[in-house]
Symmetry: none
Subunit: 260 residues, 2 copies
Protein backbone atom coordinates (compact mmCIF):
# COMPACT_ATOMS: atom_id res chain seq x y z
CA UNK A 1 0.00 0.00 0.00
CA UNK A 2 2.98 2.34 0.40
CA UNK A 3 3.49 4.68 -2.48
CA UNK A 4 3.86 8.28 -3.48
CA UNK A 5 1.18 10.73 -2.62
CA UNK A 6 0.33 10.93 -6.31
CA UNK A 7 -1.01 7.41 -6.19
CA UNK A 8 -2.95 8.08 -3.00
CA UNK A 9 -5.49 10.43 -4.41
CA UNK A 10 -7.88 11.80 -1.79
CA UNK A 11 -10.62 10.58 -4.12
CA UNK A 12 -9.88 7.03 -3.15
CA UNK A 13 -9.75 7.12 0.59
CA UNK A 14 -11.96 9.93 1.74
CA UNK A 15 -10.91 13.38 2.90
CA UNK A 16 -7.26 14.29 3.40
CA UNK A 17 -6.25 14.85 7.03
CA UNK A 18 -3.94 17.85 7.36
CA UNK A 19 -2.14 18.20 10.70
CA UNK A 20 -0.76 21.71 11.17
CA UNK A 21 2.32 21.83 13.41
CA UNK A 22 1.77 18.54 15.25
CA UNK A 23 3.99 18.32 18.32
CA UNK A 24 4.36 14.70 19.46
CA UNK A 25 5.26 11.96 17.00
CA UNK A 26 3.19 9.60 19.11
CA UNK A 27 0.08 11.63 18.38
CA UNK A 28 0.76 11.53 14.66
CA UNK A 29 1.03 7.74 14.91
CA UNK A 30 -2.26 7.54 16.77
CA UNK A 31 -3.87 9.75 14.14
CA UNK A 32 -2.67 7.30 11.48
CA UNK A 33 -4.38 4.45 13.33
CA UNK A 34 -7.62 6.37 13.71
CA UNK A 35 -7.51 7.24 10.01
CA UNK A 36 -7.07 3.66 8.91
CA UNK A 37 -9.92 2.62 11.26
CA UNK A 38 -12.13 4.96 9.23
CA UNK A 39 -10.75 4.11 5.80
CA UNK A 40 -8.88 7.41 5.45
CA UNK A 41 -5.47 7.23 3.81
CA UNK A 42 -4.25 10.67 2.87
CA UNK A 43 -2.25 12.23 5.74
CA UNK A 44 -0.40 15.52 5.29
CA UNK A 45 1.80 17.19 7.89
CA UNK A 46 2.70 20.85 8.01
CA UNK A 47 5.97 21.45 9.90
CA UNK A 48 5.87 18.59 12.39
CA UNK A 49 7.78 19.88 15.44
CA UNK A 50 9.92 16.77 15.95
CA UNK A 51 10.83 16.22 12.30
CA UNK A 52 9.89 13.51 9.87
CA UNK A 53 10.07 10.53 9.65
CA UNK A 54 9.58 10.06 13.37
CA UNK A 55 10.24 6.78 15.24
CA UNK A 56 7.67 7.63 17.93
CA UNK A 57 5.04 8.01 15.24
CA UNK A 58 5.96 4.67 13.72
CA UNK A 59 5.74 2.95 17.12
CA UNK A 60 2.33 4.44 17.90
CA UNK A 61 0.93 3.69 14.45
CA UNK A 62 1.38 -0.05 15.00
CA UNK A 63 -0.68 -1.66 12.22
CA UNK A 64 -1.18 1.60 10.36
CA UNK A 65 2.37 2.15 9.12
CA UNK A 66 1.13 2.27 5.54
CA UNK A 67 -0.46 5.63 6.28
CA UNK A 68 2.83 7.04 7.59
CA UNK A 69 4.78 5.65 4.64
CA UNK A 70 2.61 7.69 2.30
CA UNK A 71 2.42 10.82 4.46
CA UNK A 72 3.33 14.04 2.74
CA UNK A 73 5.25 16.72 4.64
CA UNK A 74 4.79 20.37 3.67
CA UNK A 75 6.29 23.62 4.84
CA UNK A 76 3.13 25.69 4.66
CA UNK A 77 -0.58 25.06 5.08
CA UNK A 78 -1.12 26.62 1.67
CA UNK A 79 1.09 23.98 0.07
CA UNK A 80 -0.68 21.16 1.93
CA UNK A 81 -4.14 22.20 0.82
CA UNK A 82 -3.30 23.27 -2.71
CA UNK A 83 -5.19 20.51 -4.55
CA UNK A 84 -8.31 20.54 -2.38
CA UNK A 85 -11.63 22.03 -3.35
CA UNK A 86 -13.33 22.04 0.03
CA UNK A 87 -11.53 22.55 3.32
CA UNK A 88 -12.92 22.06 6.82
CA UNK A 89 -11.17 23.34 9.95
CA UNK A 90 -11.62 21.38 13.19
CA UNK A 91 -11.74 23.58 16.23
CA UNK A 92 -12.65 23.06 19.86
CA UNK A 93 -13.74 26.60 20.65
CA UNK A 94 -15.93 29.10 18.83
CA UNK A 95 -14.16 31.94 17.04
CA UNK A 96 -15.39 35.27 15.93
CA UNK A 97 -15.43 34.42 12.30
CA UNK A 98 -18.28 34.54 9.84
CA UNK A 99 -18.07 31.04 8.47
CA UNK A 100 -20.50 28.14 8.50
CA UNK A 101 -20.05 25.88 11.55
CA UNK A 102 -20.92 22.23 11.02
CA UNK A 103 -21.09 19.18 13.28
CA UNK A 104 -19.00 16.21 12.13
CA UNK A 105 -22.23 14.55 11.01
CA UNK A 106 -23.35 17.45 8.87
CA UNK A 107 -19.81 17.83 7.55
CA UNK A 108 -19.71 14.17 6.56
CA UNK A 109 -22.89 14.54 4.51
CA UNK A 110 -21.42 17.65 2.95
CA UNK A 111 -18.16 15.85 2.12
CA UNK A 112 -20.02 13.00 0.44
CA UNK A 113 -21.82 15.50 -1.72
CA UNK A 114 -18.63 17.32 -2.68
CA UNK A 115 -16.76 14.13 -3.41
CA UNK A 116 -19.68 12.86 -5.49
CA UNK A 117 -19.00 15.82 -7.75
CA UNK A 118 -15.43 14.56 -8.14
CA UNK A 119 -13.91 17.25 -5.97
CA UNK A 120 -11.22 16.83 -3.31
CA UNK A 121 -11.86 17.41 0.36
CA UNK A 122 -9.59 17.94 3.37
CA UNK A 123 -9.76 18.66 7.09
CA UNK A 124 -7.31 20.87 9.01
CA UNK A 125 -6.38 20.01 12.59
CA UNK A 126 -4.23 22.34 14.69
CA UNK A 127 -1.31 21.72 17.07
CA UNK A 128 -2.15 19.73 20.24
CA UNK A 129 -1.74 22.60 22.63
CA UNK A 130 -3.06 25.65 20.83
CA UNK A 131 -5.33 24.45 18.07
CA UNK A 132 -5.54 26.23 14.71
CA UNK A 133 -4.57 29.87 14.42
CA UNK A 134 -7.09 32.33 13.10
CA UNK A 135 -4.97 32.57 9.94
CA UNK A 136 -5.28 28.83 9.34
CA UNK A 137 -8.98 28.94 10.11
CA UNK A 138 -9.41 31.67 7.53
CA UNK A 139 -8.19 29.26 4.83
CA UNK A 140 -11.12 26.93 5.47
CA UNK A 141 -14.55 26.95 3.88
CA UNK A 142 -16.29 25.48 6.89
CA UNK A 143 -15.63 25.19 10.59
CA UNK A 144 -16.08 21.78 12.14
CA UNK A 145 -17.06 21.60 15.81
CA UNK A 146 -17.67 18.38 17.74
CA UNK A 147 -20.65 18.81 20.08
CA UNK A 148 -19.58 17.35 23.44
CA UNK A 149 -19.99 18.06 27.16
CA UNK A 150 -19.41 21.82 27.26
CA UNK A 151 -17.77 21.47 30.67
CA UNK A 152 -15.14 19.07 29.30
CA UNK A 153 -15.02 19.22 25.53
CA UNK A 154 -11.33 18.94 24.70
CA UNK A 155 -10.35 15.86 22.74
CA UNK A 156 -6.85 14.77 21.96
CA UNK A 157 -5.77 14.97 18.35
CA UNK A 158 -6.32 11.32 17.47
CA UNK A 159 -9.75 11.30 19.11
CA UNK A 160 -10.82 14.35 17.13
CA UNK A 161 -9.64 12.67 13.92
CA UNK A 162 -11.44 9.47 14.96
CA UNK A 163 -14.80 11.18 15.46
CA UNK A 164 -14.60 13.10 12.20
CA UNK A 165 -13.42 9.98 10.35
CA UNK A 166 -16.09 7.84 12.00
CA UNK A 167 -18.81 10.18 10.75
CA UNK A 168 -17.27 10.13 7.29
CA UNK A 169 -17.24 6.34 7.30
CA UNK A 170 -20.88 6.13 8.43
CA UNK A 171 -22.01 8.64 5.79
CA UNK A 172 -20.24 7.01 2.87
CA UNK A 173 -21.10 3.46 3.96
CA UNK A 174 -24.72 3.93 5.00
CA UNK A 175 -25.90 7.17 3.42
CA UNK A 176 -26.99 10.36 5.09
CA UNK A 177 -29.11 8.52 7.68
CA UNK A 178 -25.77 7.13 8.70
CA UNK A 179 -26.96 3.99 10.38
CA UNK A 180 -27.59 0.43 9.46
CA UNK A 181 -30.84 -1.16 10.50
CA UNK A 182 -30.75 -3.56 13.37
CA UNK A 183 -29.77 -7.01 12.29
CA UNK A 184 -30.15 -10.31 14.01
CA UNK A 185 -27.50 -12.86 13.10
CA UNK A 186 -28.99 -16.31 12.97
CA UNK A 187 -25.90 -18.35 12.15
CA UNK A 188 -27.46 -20.62 9.58
CA UNK A 189 -30.76 -21.11 11.37
CA UNK A 190 -34.07 -19.62 10.33
CA UNK A 191 -36.91 -17.92 12.14
CA UNK A 192 -39.59 -20.33 13.28
CA UNK A 193 -42.67 -20.29 11.12
CA UNK A 194 -46.07 -19.58 12.59
CA UNK A 195 -47.20 -23.20 12.55
CA UNK A 196 -44.16 -24.16 14.63
CA UNK A 197 -44.84 -21.33 17.04
CA UNK A 198 -48.55 -22.08 17.44
CA UNK A 199 -47.78 -25.73 17.95
CA UNK A 200 -45.39 -24.83 20.76
CA UNK A 201 -47.90 -22.43 22.32
CA UNK A 202 -50.64 -25.09 22.31
CA UNK A 203 -48.30 -27.60 23.87
CA UNK A 204 -47.11 -25.15 26.57
CA UNK A 205 -50.65 -24.12 27.40
CA UNK A 206 -51.81 -27.71 27.72
CA UNK A 207 -48.95 -28.41 30.10
CA UNK A 208 -49.85 -25.30 32.09
CA UNK A 209 -53.49 -26.37 32.22
CA UNK A 210 -52.32 -29.64 33.72
CA UNK A 211 -50.36 -27.66 36.34
CA UNK A 212 -53.34 -25.41 37.17
CA UNK A 213 -51.45 -22.34 36.01
CA UNK A 214 -54.41 -20.46 34.59
CA UNK A 215 -56.27 -19.32 37.64
CA UNK A 216 -58.87 -17.96 38.01
CA UNK A 217 -60.22 -19.64 34.85
CA UNK A 218 -61.84 -16.48 33.48
CA UNK A 219 -58.37 -14.95 33.26
CA UNK A 220 -57.11 -17.72 30.99
CA UNK A 221 -57.57 -15.86 27.66
CA UNK A 222 -55.62 -12.78 28.76
CA UNK A 223 -52.93 -14.88 30.46
CA UNK A 224 -52.51 -16.89 27.25
CA UNK A 225 -52.22 -13.68 25.24
CA UNK A 226 -49.56 -12.27 27.54
CA UNK A 227 -47.52 -15.46 27.42
CA UNK A 228 -47.73 -15.69 23.64
CA UNK A 229 -46.74 -12.04 23.27
CA UNK A 230 -43.73 -12.56 25.44
CA UNK A 231 -42.39 -15.47 23.39
CA UNK A 232 -43.39 -13.84 20.16
CA UNK A 233 -41.23 -10.81 20.88
CA UNK A 234 -38.13 -12.97 21.05
CA UNK A 235 -38.19 -13.67 17.28
CA UNK A 236 -37.59 -17.34 17.97
CA UNK A 237 -35.67 -19.52 15.54
CA UNK A 238 -36.76 -23.04 14.63
CA UNK A 239 -33.97 -24.44 16.78
CA UNK A 240 -35.08 -22.37 19.75
CA UNK A 241 -38.66 -23.57 19.45
CA UNK A 242 -37.38 -27.14 19.63
CA UNK A 243 -35.31 -26.14 22.67
CA UNK A 244 -38.41 -24.75 24.34
CA UNK A 245 -40.27 -28.00 23.69
CA UNK A 246 -37.40 -29.70 25.49
CA UNK A 247 -37.74 -27.24 28.37
CA UNK A 248 -41.43 -28.07 28.79
CA UNK A 249 -40.67 -31.77 28.65
CA UNK A 250 -37.89 -31.52 31.22
CA UNK A 251 -39.88 -29.37 33.63
CA UNK A 252 -43.03 -31.46 33.31
CA UNK A 253 -41.20 -34.65 34.14
CA UNK A 254 -41.57 -33.70 37.79
CA UNK A 255 -38.90 -34.01 40.40
CA UNK A 256 -39.55 -37.60 41.32
CA UNK A 257 -38.08 -39.19 38.21
CA UNK A 258 -34.40 -39.66 37.53
CA UNK A 259 -32.81 -40.08 34.12
CA UNK A 260 -34.62 -42.75 32.19
Amino acid sequence: MAGTDRKRSPMLGGPAVVLVGPQLGQNVGMVARAMLNCGLEDLRLVNPRDGWPNPAAAAAAAGAGQILDATRVCETVEEAIAGLQRLYAATARPRHMVKPVLTPRAAAADMCEVKARGEAVGILFGPERSGLSNEDLTLADRVLEVPLNPAFASLNLAQAVLIVGYEWYQAQAFGSGGTRPRRLPHGGVRLADKAELLNFFARLEAALDAGDFFYPPEMRPSMVRNLRNLFQRADLTDVEVRTLHGVVTALSKGRGRGRG
Copy 2:
Protein backbone atom coordinates in the same frame (compact mmCIF):
# COMPACT_ATOMS: atom_id res chain seq x y z
CA MET B 1 -18.62 15.50 42.44
CA ALA B 2 -17.17 12.53 44.32
CA GLY B 3 -19.74 10.54 46.23
CA THR B 4 -21.20 7.14 46.70
CA ASP B 5 -22.54 5.34 43.69
CA ARG B 6 -26.03 5.77 45.11
CA LYS B 7 -25.82 9.46 44.43
CA ARG B 8 -24.54 8.90 40.92
CA SER B 9 -27.66 7.38 39.52
CA PRO B 10 -27.26 6.29 35.90
CA MET B 11 -30.38 8.39 35.29
CA LEU B 12 -28.36 11.55 35.64
CA GLY B 13 -25.37 11.00 33.45
CA GLY B 14 -26.40 8.63 30.70
CA PRO B 15 -25.58 4.94 30.45
CA ALA B 16 -23.26 3.23 32.90
CA VAL B 17 -19.95 2.10 31.40
CA VAL B 18 -18.97 -1.34 32.71
CA LEU B 19 -15.37 -2.40 32.02
CA VAL B 20 -14.92 -6.12 32.46
CA GLY B 21 -11.39 -7.11 33.49
CA PRO B 22 -9.61 -3.99 32.25
CA GLN B 23 -5.85 -4.55 32.11
CA LEU B 24 -3.97 -1.23 32.08
CA GLY B 25 -4.81 1.51 34.56
CA GLN B 26 -3.84 4.02 31.89
CA ASN B 27 -6.66 2.76 29.70
CA VAL B 28 -9.17 3.10 32.53
CA GLY B 29 -8.03 6.70 32.97
CA MET B 30 -8.44 7.40 29.27
CA VAL B 31 -11.90 5.84 29.39
CA ALA B 32 -12.78 8.24 32.23
CA ARG B 33 -11.71 11.20 30.06
CA ALA B 34 -13.72 9.95 27.08
CA MET B 35 -16.73 9.47 29.36
CA LEU B 36 -16.58 12.98 30.73
CA ASN B 37 -16.21 14.33 27.18
CA CYS B 38 -19.56 12.73 26.46
CA GLY B 39 -21.26 13.62 29.74
CA LEU B 40 -21.14 10.05 31.07
CA GLU B 41 -20.40 9.68 34.78
CA ASP B 42 -21.16 6.16 35.95
CA LEU B 43 -18.06 3.95 35.59
CA ARG B 44 -18.03 0.41 36.98
CA LEU B 45 -15.05 -1.94 36.93
CA VAL B 46 -15.20 -5.69 37.21
CA ASN B 47 -11.94 -7.12 38.55
CA PRO B 48 -9.45 -4.58 37.21
CA ARG B 49 -6.22 -6.52 36.68
CA ASP B 50 -3.90 -4.03 38.36
CA GLY B 51 -6.10 -3.30 41.38
CA TRP B 52 -7.99 -0.21 42.40
CA PRO B 53 -7.44 2.67 42.99
CA ASN B 54 -4.70 2.83 40.38
CA PRO B 55 -2.16 5.67 40.07
CA ALA B 56 -1.73 5.11 36.33
CA ALA B 57 -5.47 5.58 35.87
CA ALA B 58 -5.42 8.79 37.87
CA ALA B 59 -2.53 10.15 35.80
CA ALA B 60 -4.22 9.33 32.49
CA ALA B 61 -7.59 10.70 33.59
CA ALA B 62 -6.12 14.20 34.00
CA GLY B 63 -9.15 16.46 34.26
CA ALA B 64 -11.60 13.59 34.66
CA GLY B 65 -10.60 12.45 38.15
CA GLN B 66 -14.16 12.95 39.38
CA ILE B 67 -15.22 9.93 37.31
CA LEU B 68 -12.55 7.75 38.93
CA ASP B 69 -13.44 8.99 42.43
CA ALA B 70 -16.96 7.72 41.96
CA THR B 71 -16.03 4.48 40.17
CA ARG B 72 -17.53 1.34 41.62
CA VAL B 73 -15.49 -1.85 41.67
CA CYS B 74 -17.30 -5.19 41.55
CA GLU B 75 -16.19 -8.80 41.69
CA THR B 76 -18.62 -10.14 39.14
CA VAL B 77 -20.32 -8.81 36.05
CA GLU B 78 -23.64 -9.85 37.55
CA GLU B 79 -23.05 -7.57 40.52
CA ALA B 80 -22.05 -4.68 38.27
CA ILE B 81 -25.18 -4.87 36.12
CA ALA B 82 -27.72 -5.80 38.81
CA GLY B 83 -29.76 -2.57 38.75
CA LEU B 84 -29.78 -2.11 34.97
CA GLN B 85 -32.76 -2.80 32.78
CA ARG B 86 -31.10 -2.69 29.36
CA LEU B 87 -27.58 -3.89 28.73
CA TYR B 88 -25.51 -3.51 25.54
CA ALA B 89 -22.31 -5.42 24.87
CA ALA B 90 -19.62 -3.78 22.74
CA THR B 91 -17.79 -6.26 20.56
CA ALA B 92 -15.38 -5.98 17.68
CA ARG B 93 -16.14 -9.28 16.04
CA PRO B 94 -19.36 -11.07 15.17
CA ARG B 95 -20.33 -14.04 17.33
CA HIS B 96 -22.69 -16.88 16.73
CA MET B 97 -25.32 -15.63 19.05
CA VAL B 98 -28.91 -14.86 18.24
CA LYS B 99 -29.11 -11.35 19.61
CA PRO B 100 -29.91 -8.01 17.95
CA VAL B 101 -26.81 -6.21 16.66
CA LEU B 102 -26.96 -2.41 16.69
CA THR B 103 -24.67 0.34 15.49
CA PRO B 104 -23.70 2.91 18.14
CA ARG B 105 -26.13 5.32 16.51
CA ALA B 106 -29.09 2.96 16.62
CA ALA B 107 -28.12 1.97 20.15
CA ALA B 108 -28.04 5.60 21.24
CA ALA B 109 -31.59 6.13 19.99
CA ASP B 110 -32.61 2.95 21.78
CA MET B 111 -30.94 4.12 25.02
CA CYS B 112 -32.76 7.44 24.90
CA GLU B 113 -36.05 5.63 24.57
CA VAL B 114 -35.33 3.28 27.46
CA LYS B 115 -34.10 6.08 29.68
CA ALA B 116 -37.13 8.19 28.81
CA ARG B 117 -39.16 5.45 30.48
CA GLY B 118 -37.06 5.94 33.61
CA GLU B 119 -35.09 2.74 33.18
CA ALA B 120 -31.37 2.24 33.70
CA VAL B 121 -28.99 1.45 30.85
CA GLY B 122 -25.42 0.17 30.73
CA ILE B 123 -22.75 -0.87 28.24
CA LEU B 124 -20.28 -3.72 28.74
CA PHE B 125 -16.74 -3.46 27.36
CA GLY B 126 -14.33 -6.39 27.55
CA PRO B 127 -10.63 -6.61 28.41
CA GLU B 128 -8.25 -4.84 26.00
CA ARG B 129 -6.72 -7.96 24.58
CA SER B 130 -9.52 -10.47 24.36
CA GLY B 131 -12.80 -8.56 24.41
CA LEU B 132 -15.91 -9.92 26.10
CA SER B 133 -16.35 -13.62 26.70
CA ASN B 134 -19.40 -15.40 25.34
CA GLU B 135 -20.69 -15.65 28.90
CA ASP B 136 -20.52 -11.89 29.35
CA LEU B 137 -22.12 -11.34 25.98
CA THR B 138 -24.97 -13.60 26.95
CA LEU B 139 -25.87 -11.22 29.78
CA ALA B 140 -26.59 -8.43 27.31
CA ASP B 141 -29.84 -7.60 25.54
CA ARG B 142 -28.16 -6.09 22.50
CA VAL B 143 -24.81 -6.34 20.78
CA LEU B 144 -23.13 -3.10 19.81
CA GLU B 145 -20.81 -3.11 16.80
CA VAL B 146 -18.99 -0.05 15.47
CA PRO B 147 -19.01 -0.09 11.66
CA LEU B 148 -15.46 0.76 10.60
CA ASN B 149 -12.92 -0.20 7.94
CA PRO B 150 -13.28 -4.00 7.95
CA ALA B 151 -9.59 -4.37 7.17
CA PHE B 152 -8.61 -2.44 10.31
CA ALA B 153 -11.52 -2.22 12.69
CA SER B 154 -9.96 -2.63 16.11
CA LEU B 155 -10.26 0.37 18.40
CA ASN B 156 -8.58 0.78 21.73
CA LEU B 157 -10.81 0.73 24.79
CA ALA B 158 -11.05 4.50 25.26
CA GLN B 159 -11.78 5.06 21.57
CA ALA B 160 -14.59 2.52 21.64
CA VAL B 161 -16.06 4.24 24.71
CA LEU B 162 -15.63 7.60 23.00
CA ILE B 163 -17.57 6.59 19.90
CA VAL B 164 -20.40 5.03 21.85
CA GLY B 165 -20.50 7.99 24.25
CA TYR B 166 -20.33 10.46 21.36
CA GLU B 167 -23.38 8.89 19.76
CA TRP B 168 -25.18 8.95 23.10
CA TYR B 169 -24.36 12.63 23.50
CA GLN B 170 -25.59 13.47 19.99
CA ALA B 171 -28.81 11.52 20.46
CA GLN B 172 -29.76 13.03 23.80
CA ALA B 173 -28.71 16.52 22.74
CA PHE B 174 -30.14 16.58 19.24
CA GLY B 175 -32.66 13.76 18.98
CA SER B 176 -32.41 10.49 17.20
CA GLY B 177 -31.42 12.04 13.88
CA GLY B 178 -34.15 10.53 11.79
CA THR B 179 -33.74 6.93 12.89
CA ARG B 180 -37.02 5.59 14.12
CA PRO B 181 -36.50 3.63 17.32
CA ARG B 182 -38.54 0.55 17.89
CA ARG B 183 -41.43 1.25 20.18
CA LEU B 184 -42.54 -1.22 22.80
CA PRO B 185 -45.51 -0.07 24.84
CA HIS B 186 -45.30 -1.33 28.36
CA GLY B 187 -48.64 -0.16 29.73
CA GLY B 188 -47.47 0.94 33.15
CA VAL B 189 -45.02 -1.87 33.75
CA ARG B 190 -41.26 -1.60 33.56
CA LEU B 191 -38.50 -3.71 32.05
CA ALA B 192 -37.15 -6.31 34.44
CA ASP B 193 -33.77 -5.38 35.85
CA LYS B 194 -30.79 -7.68 35.47
CA ALA B 195 -30.95 -9.02 39.01
CA GLU B 196 -34.55 -10.12 38.43
CA LEU B 197 -33.63 -11.73 35.13
CA LEU B 198 -30.57 -13.53 36.46
CA ASN B 199 -32.60 -14.76 39.38
CA PHE B 200 -35.16 -16.23 36.98
CA PHE B 201 -32.44 -17.80 34.83
CA ALA B 202 -30.85 -19.44 37.86
CA ARG B 203 -34.19 -20.77 38.96
CA LEU B 204 -35.10 -22.09 35.51
CA GLU B 205 -31.71 -23.73 35.07
CA ALA B 206 -31.94 -25.42 38.48
CA ALA B 207 -35.38 -26.78 37.56
CA LEU B 208 -33.98 -27.99 34.23
CA ASP B 209 -31.06 -29.64 36.00
CA ALA B 210 -33.59 -31.48 38.14
CA GLY B 211 -35.32 -32.59 34.94
CA ASP B 212 -32.04 -33.75 33.31
CA PHE B 213 -32.47 -31.23 30.52
CA PHE B 214 -28.80 -30.44 30.03
CA TYR B 215 -27.50 -33.49 28.32
CA PRO B 216 -24.77 -34.31 27.54
CA PRO B 217 -23.31 -32.40 30.50
CA GLU B 218 -20.47 -30.84 28.50
CA MET B 219 -23.08 -29.06 26.41
CA ARG B 220 -24.58 -27.34 29.45
CA PRO B 221 -22.73 -24.00 29.06
CA SER B 222 -23.76 -23.45 25.46
CA MET B 223 -27.30 -24.68 26.12
CA VAL B 224 -27.58 -22.20 29.00
CA ARG B 225 -26.27 -19.41 26.76
CA ASN B 226 -28.80 -20.19 24.06
CA LEU B 227 -31.68 -20.29 26.51
CA ARG B 228 -30.68 -17.03 28.17
CA ASN B 229 -30.26 -15.31 24.82
CA LEU B 230 -33.71 -16.39 23.77
CA PHE B 231 -35.40 -14.97 26.87
CA GLN B 232 -33.17 -11.92 26.87
CA ARG B 233 -34.34 -10.96 23.40
CA ALA B 234 -37.92 -10.70 24.58
CA ASP B 235 -37.17 -7.53 26.63
CA LEU B 236 -39.13 -9.00 29.52
CA THR B 237 -41.02 -6.78 31.93
CA ASP B 238 -40.99 -7.35 35.67
CA VAL B 239 -44.54 -8.73 35.45
CA GLU B 240 -43.53 -11.17 32.72
CA VAL B 241 -40.60 -12.43 34.76
CA ARG B 242 -43.03 -13.18 37.59
CA THR B 243 -45.29 -14.90 35.07
CA LEU B 244 -42.38 -17.07 33.92
CA HIS B 245 -41.62 -18.02 37.52
CA GLY B 246 -45.25 -19.13 37.69
CA VAL B 247 -44.79 -21.13 34.49
CA VAL B 248 -41.80 -22.99 35.94
CA THR B 249 -43.69 -23.62 39.16
CA ALA B 250 -46.74 -24.91 37.32
CA LEU B 251 -44.78 -27.15 34.99
CA SER B 252 -42.56 -28.50 37.74
CA LYS B 253 -45.47 -29.44 39.92
CA GLY B 254 -45.99 -32.52 37.80
CA ARG B 255 -49.37 -33.77 36.82
CA GLY B 256 -50.21 -35.60 40.01
CA ARG B 257 -50.91 -32.59 42.23
CA GLY B 258 -54.03 -30.43 42.15
CA ARG B 259 -54.26 -26.85 43.28
CA GLY B 260 -53.24 -26.50 46.92
